[in-house]
């Protein structure tokens, strides 16, 4: 049971998180209309999707240790060769799960 005091805090936390997140999502799109779509800005924006994804995963791969790195490599290779993201993902998870099961 949450006290009335804490339920206000829950509401504020969720509402605050939602507002901040939406402001970034919508704000980013609105701001981009004011950015020039040529030259360096364009190069930067085009490089972003890839770099954001790498930034998202790199620390997680390293944190998962040697087998995490091996799994990520296998995932990337499979994704490249088969173009099947699901199979690539499952293989990566299998390697990590297998290594953990065997106690590596």
């Amino acid at each position: 049971m949450t006290s009335p005091d804490n339920s206000l805090a829950v509401f504020l936390a969720i509402a605050g998180a939602a507002l901040v997140t939406y402001a970034f999502r919508f704000g980013g799109l609105l701001l981009s209309e004011r950015l020039p779509s040529t030259g360096s800005v364009k190069d930067f924006m085009e490089a972003l999707p890839g770099t954001i994804l790498v930034a998202l995963v790199a620390p997680g791969i390293v944190a998962a240790g040697f087998w995490g790195c091996a799994a990520a490599l296998a995932t990337a290779l499979l994704a490249w060769r088969t173009r099947n993201i699901f199979v690539a993902m499952l293989s990566g998870m299998l390697i990590v799960a297998g290594a953990r099961y065997l106690g590596f």
Partner: protein
Amino acid sequence: MRLQQIQNGALANLPMAASACAYGSVLGVLAAQKDVSWLELLAMNVSVFAGSAQFVMVDMWGPHLPVLEMVFAVMVINLRYLLIGASLNPVFQGASLPQKSMIMHLVADENWAVTMAAHRRCTATIWFLLGGGLCLFCVWSFGTLFGHRLGTLVRNPEAWALDFAFTAVFTALAVSLWRGKTDLLPWTGVALLAIMAETLLPGKWYIVIGGVGGALLPLLQKEQPHDISG
């Protein structure tokens, strides 16, 4: 036509959805352990709809919620949505303001990345993006609530590598965004920057620092020859 594209978007996001379901169930298990009610979890799914931010919120959950710290943490993690939103500019060409304001709420890492990959093949539309968002929303909510209600079934999600699902699916997705040799320098730079930032700085600053820093690298490289003429 629209319906067809919504459907295409939903289908293209199915692999992402499977992974979102896997780490969603991990979040659900954690949430149940932290005494987050299923209603509160659902409220987060609907209003925040951002996986990594929800993980951090649940992690900070307790009898006395640190509201300001939580909102600040979410701000740092989700700062990347500013860039994600900006990068969707070409997809939203010609869309109305109400369409933009509504569809943007359902933009997550997954359907954004799938849409950007489709954009490279010139098949991305806002309806494709929306279809992916709807698909992810359903599966994400199912996964989180499943984990929350039946958490005892998955006592040890790490044993199944469910915690690695996020990393694995985004690694696979990154491959589809690879543009060739031009990406080698920025991507290596990002990886190093992000790993360094993650060890040196608290929280999730590494996402934005790595992403922005890496995207700036090729510009620095390019601008050197212009220095003389400038």
